[in-house]
């Protein structure tokens, strides 16, 4: 229950936590004093013929005490909530930072939905831990002991009963908790399988409809819903049971104490004053213990979320080499060398690259060809330092790539992905991205070079039009041109180009081909090629298969050789 990660988060808020402590003590003192003053009034009126006027001082005292108690309670809640909010915000930022730093390769194992849920419901779920569970722990630690101390000198028998019955509550809670824990885990598993099943029905709805099976599935939905209800109720039944036991113990204890003091009163062993005060304090004594059941439940949910959050936060960062080099900020093209590179993605069984070796002279245009899954995109991932090779070395101008500062290195690359991610930001921001030096003129120049300036001007707010989720939708060709504009703005000597596989209309294809020609002029260029046109013009073609280089050379050379490249292009040559 006391999650060590979450407890660690509180450390910076020690002072506030001490305040929480003090407030709880004040609250306990108020509670006892209120009971005392109430008892004085009732006792006076009942047995000592006190009238309203004589009771006035007690009334005044109560007015003040009750106000103080409400105020203290308010402050108590605010303090706990304050701590909780600060921790939540910190965790949000840390989590985000970590996810971005860890990078896309590592995070690709996680489902987007799960991650997003962590940011929203997951972190919000921690709120209960800090605002309900921890303050409750403090309250349980303060109020019942203080009441016990107050009752002990007046009526030791009742104090003894308090002492004997109070431990029953945590004891039973633990027993039921252990029982419930197992059942809970099993039931939640059922619940999550059911949710997945529901999600699947929705995702497959169109497919089902095409096969005329969607109506039949109403039966399945009914069955699932009923299972869902039963499973939820089963979990809840345990929660109800634990609160049943808690309530039973506390109400029975109160009854036991009431009857006990009643009988001793009858025998004249106890004053009414004392008896009534004990009766007033008894519910206050059990209240925090009773509430701790709900608080425990809240803490359990929160720790489940916390486990997920800290699992992500524990993902190792790729610690870069110390004293990274910043190669000179130059626009002179680089030469690149892959020396016996092997790489395997974590989650996959297949090796992506096995002992890949090739070299690229500065300023040359290289086309990479090969079937899907041959390892073409892995070459780009490696060059962008998004992943590190497990074996071998990549050299840039004879300098090892892993000794170069990645942030700096990436700024020397213009990367045009097949389908860029369009962020939910303005057109301007979508082109600029992380570039800190570019001004408006540079962006417009880049957009013009990518032949998208005219289109941007037709948008409702030109460069300030919002794109991405909920913004202006773009066609495939327009997204491609945004990516090319980004690359122009980067003005880098190395260009990585991933050609689109799906066809655009002929006019757009022509425009894009022209922009790409401008972009790649006098640069070192690596193209993952899907078009015969771009392969023909390349200085060298690398044919990759199963993570290995099978052949390389110019178009003419490779055709003459009659190898793999020859077979791949055979169909097209026949057609054209």
């Amino acid at each position: 229950m006391l999650n060590k990660h979450l407890i660690k988060e509180i450390k910076p808020y020690k002072k506030k936590f001490v305040l929480l402590f003090m407030l709880s003590i004040t609250n306990a003192v108020c509670t006892i004093s209120i009971a005392y003053a109430l008892m004085k009034i009732i006792n006076g009126v009942f047995l000592a013929d006190m009238n309203l006027k004589e009771a006035a001082p007690f009334f005044a005292m109560l007015l003040f005490l009750m106000f103080a108690k409400a105020f203290v309670r308010w402050q108590n809640q605010l303090t706990a909530h304050d701590i909780s909010l600060s921790i939540q915000q910190k965790l949000r930022n840390r989590l985000l930072n970590h996810i971005v730093t860890v990078g896309p390769e590592e995070m690709s194992q996680e489902k987007t939905g799960d991650l997003v849920t962590l940011f929203t419901n997951g972190i919000e779920g921690l709120d209960d831990y800090f605002t309900k569970f921890l303050p409750q722990v403090v309250t349980v630690g303060i109020i019942p002991p203080l009441i016990l101390v107050a009752v002990l000198p007046m009526d030791w028998i009742s104090a003894l009963l308090f002492c004997l019955t109070a431990p029953l509550i945590p004891l039973f809670m633990m027993l039921i908790g252990r029982l419930a824990g197992n059942a809970n885990a099993k039931q939640w598993k059922t619940l999550s399988t059911l949710s997945i099943h529901f999600l699947e029905l929705l995702e497959g709805l169109t497919t089902l409809k095409i096969f005329n099976q969607s109506i039949n599935q109403i039966k399945e939905v009914t069955r699932l819903s009923n299972d869902f209800r039963d499973a939820t109720l089963k979990v809840l039944r345990l929660a109800f049971l634990s609160s049943f036991v808690l309530e039973l113990i506390s109400t029975l204890s109160i009854a036991l104490i009431a009857i006990g003091i009643g009988l001793r009163l009858l025998q004249g062993n106890l004053a009414f004053e004392t008896a009534f005060l004990v009766l007033l304090l008894a519910p206050e004594f059990y209240q925090p213990l009773r509430q701790s059941g709900a608080a425990f439940h809240a803490a359990m949910t929160a720790t489940t979320a916390a486990d997920q959050i800290y699992r992500i936060l524990k993902k190792p960062l790729n610690i870069p080499h110390t004293n990274l080099q910043r190669i000179e900020k130059t626009t002179v093209p680089f030469s690149i060398q892959f020396e016996d590179i092997s790489f395997r993605y974590q989650q996959e069984r297949e090796i992506a690259l096995r002992g890949l070796t090739f070299s690229i002279e500065a300023g040359k245009h290289i086309a990479i060809v090969g079937g899907s899954g041959a390892g073409k995109s892995t070459i780009f991932q490696l060059l962008l330092q998004l992943v590190q090779p497990q074996k071998g070395e990549i050299k840039i101008n004879d300098l090892s790539l892993c000794s170069i500062d990645p942030v700096y290195w990436r700024s020397r690359i213009a990367y045009v992905p097949q389908m860029p991610h369009i962020f939910s930001a303005s057109v301007f921001d979508n082109i600029v991205l992380g570039n800190t030096v570019a001004d408006e003129n540079d962006v417009i120049a880049a957009a013009k070079a990518a032949a998208i300036h005219e289109f941007i001007l037709t948008l409702p707010e030109a460069y300030q039009t919002k794109l991405g989720d909920g913004g202006q939708p773009l066609s495939g060709g327009q997204m491609r041109r945004i990516a090319i504009a980004r690359a122009f703005l980067q003005d880098a000597p190395l260009i990585l180009l991933d050609e689109m596989t799906t066809g655009l209309d002929t006019k757009t294809e022509k425009i894009i081909a022209q922009s790409v020609a401008d972009l790649t002029y006098k640069k070192t260029v690596l193209t993952i090629a899907h078009r015969l046109d771009s392969v023909k013009k390349a200085d060298k073609i690398l044919v990759i298969e199963k993570g290995q280089l099978v052949e390389s050379g110019t178009h003419a050379e490779l055709l003459q050789k009659g190898g793999r490249y020859f077979t791949m292009t055979a169909a097209d040559r026949r057609n054209l």
Partner: protein, 574 residues
């Protein structure tokens, strides 16, 4: 308000159970008051040193209340949750039925995650609507009526104090909290929505963020939203907590006021001192019924919001089937006839304008065109997943509007681009679409799709679990499974949308050959952007700007040197 009434109507079937739960809640409250009142009576009575038998009733009462409170509470919770979940089950079935009717045409804006949210999460929110919004106020009213009724008999003024306190805590404070927090919590909901999409944006764009060093700027935006949320949350919570503390204070001070009313009555011997003790504790514990009310508005708003989202879905289907004038059957021997078809997703961007063509039974046709030329949309219209805006489609000379969607779809089998692979085994994937298909049929179909050898290599054969969305299969295997499912039972017309997109060229060729072989004289429509291997098609249609701009056999089109031959020039090489 309308949402509220509709929502209450949904709760109507469970009314008897709900009333039972309410009764239990009320009795539970009374026993808890009874416990304290009888204990006070016992002690006050004992202080006067009566004979022990005079106390026996009080002792029994204390014991009785001590036990029955916990029992009643358990009963109340069990009954109310059971009833609530029954209602939620019905609601879920109702929602699925609505979705089924309108999918996919009217669900374009929704992601499956959102729909899932509707079916599971929003309905879950509604759970609180009875448990936290409807039940507590009613319990409070009943408790108030009981206690103030008894109190009124002794001191009307004291009863009025109690009623006023309940009104202030139960209505006044919730209203004030609602009033001050309304704008804040609306703002919060919106801000949280924005924050969520910001997070999705970042997670989806991780690659580009890293490559273009966009992280610092993106963090700044994200942090700004997060801190706005925190500030607003702090504000809302201040008010909420203040309302809670205020409720506490009102309850306590009212107790004092009632005491002040009762003391003179004791002095004038209208009531006894025992009454005073009993009433003090009874009133004090009766406030337990009203103290949760200040936070009701929060659950109420959340519930109404969820209900609104649900009802929005159920109202979507109204516009789906426009009452078109009935078209007469047409003449001739056409398997499919498309007549002057107009269609748009958004009025200002038409997909088809005046599209007309016909297909003779048994023809094998390829449809080509740039992405965005409406090829996949055509299939959606043929399968009647969408309704055209103008014009008519005919199946075997019968107009579509003379048939139901189900009847139309009986003539087709289709592999669409986003064909879904269900979780479970390979056999499950067939059985969900063909509830009565045999193992032999499955194996034949798998053979046609070149998946047979792979399946035989598996230990459990067709009973192998292929994971969520078929993620235990490679992309090519998933695609072949989809093909196999479509080929399992013959239908007059086969629609194929890029069936071999993720397959290597040799397998692709094999599969296309098998499909054509198994077709015999049935009709086939093939959407593709792979222009090779189309020579075997009877006809190729080139779609552009919502029209058929060229059609003819492969060689006719090449000779024509029109759009098709230009496309071939730009066709991918490898």
């Amino acid at each position: 308000m309308k949402t509220c009434i509709t929502l209450l109507k949904l709760f109507a079937p469970a009314l008897p159970t709900m009333l039972l739960a309410l009764l239990a809640a009320w009795l539970c409250m009374l026993t808890s008051i009874g416990l304290m009142a009888s204990a006070a009576y016992l002690i006050a009575r004992a202080a006067l040193h009566p004979m022990i038998y005079e106390l026996s009733i009080a002792i029994v009462a204390v014991r009785f209340f001590g036990i029955s409170r916990a029992v009643l509470r358990y009963a109340e919770r069990y009954i109310s949750h059971d009833a609530t979940f029954r209602i939620l089950t019905n609601l879920r079935i109702f929602c699925y039925a609505c979705l089924e009717k309108i999918a996919p045409a009217k669900l374009v804006g929704y992601k499956s995650g959102e729909l899932f949210g509707l079916l599971i999460e929003e309905i879950d929110v509604l759970k609180d609507f009875y448990l936290r919004v409807l039940s507590p106020p009613l319990t409070a009213v009943l408790t108030l009526a009981t206690i103030s009724g008894i109190l009124f008999f002794y001191s009307p003024t004291a009863a009025i104090w109690l009623i006023m306190a309940f009104i202030m805590i139960g209505l006044g404070l919730p209203y004030l909290a609602y009033h001050f927090n309304r704008s804040g919590s609306t703002y919060l909901r919106e801000a949280k929505g924005i924050y969520k999409s910001e997070c999705i944006d970042i997670i989806h764009g991780l690659n580009d963020i890293k490559v273009f060093h966009y992280d610092e700027k993106k963090f700044a935006i994200n942090q700004r939203i997060a801190s706005q949320i925190t500030t607003q949350e702090r504000k809302v919570f201040r008010t909420t907590a203040l309302a809670d503390a205020g409720a506490d204070l009102i309850a306590n001070w009212t107790l004092l006021a009632i005491l002040a009313c009762l003391i003179p009555l004791v002095r004038s011997n209208q009531i006894s001192g025992i009454h005073l003790a009993v009433f003090t504790l009874a009133v004090q514990s009766s406030f337990e019924a009203v103290l949760p009310l200040p936070s009701v508005w929060h659950y109420c708003l959340a519930g109404l919001d969820a209900a609104k989202n649900l009802f929005k879905i159920s109202q979507l289907d109204i516009a789906l089937h426009p009452t078109a004038k009935t078209h007469p059957n047409c003449q001739g021997n056409k398997a499919l006839l498309i007549d002057k078809l107009d269609f748009f997703y958004k009025p200002d961007t038409p997909v088809f304008k005046n599209l007309s063509f016909s297909i003779v039974a048994g023809e094998k046709i390829a449809i080509v065109g740039a992405s965005g030329s409406g090829k996949s949309t055509l299939f959606n219209l043929l399968l009647r997943l969408w309704e055209q805006n103008f014009g008519m489609l005919y199946l075997n000379n019968v107009p579509y509007d003379a048939m139901t969607g189900e009847t139309v779809r009986q003539a087709f089998r289709a592999i669409t681009q986003n064909t879904y692979i269900f979780q479970g085994t390979i056999a499950d994937n067939f059985r969900i679409l063909y509830p009565d298909c045999t193992e032999a049929e499955i194996l034949t179909a798998l053979q046609k799709a070149q998946l047979h050898d792979f399946i035989l290599s598996l230990k459990n054969g067709i009973h192998t679990d292929i994971g969520e969305d078929g993620n235990q299969l490679s992309g090519g295997q998933r695609q072949r499974l989809a093909i196999a499912r479509a080929l399992c039972r013959p239908t007059p017309i086969l629609l194929l949308d890029e069936p071999t997109a993720s397959l290597d060229s040799i397998t692709a060729q094999h599969i296309m050959d098998t499909i054509i072989k198994t077709l015999d004289n049935r009709t086939m429509l093939l959407i593709t952007h792979d222009l090779r291997g189309l020579a075997s098609m009877d006809r190729i249609m080139v779609l552009k700007d919502g029209q058929v701009i060229e059609q003819g056999s492969y060689h006719e089109l090449l000779r024509k040197k029109g759009e098709f031959s230009t496309m071939l020039t730009y066709q991918r090489a490898l």
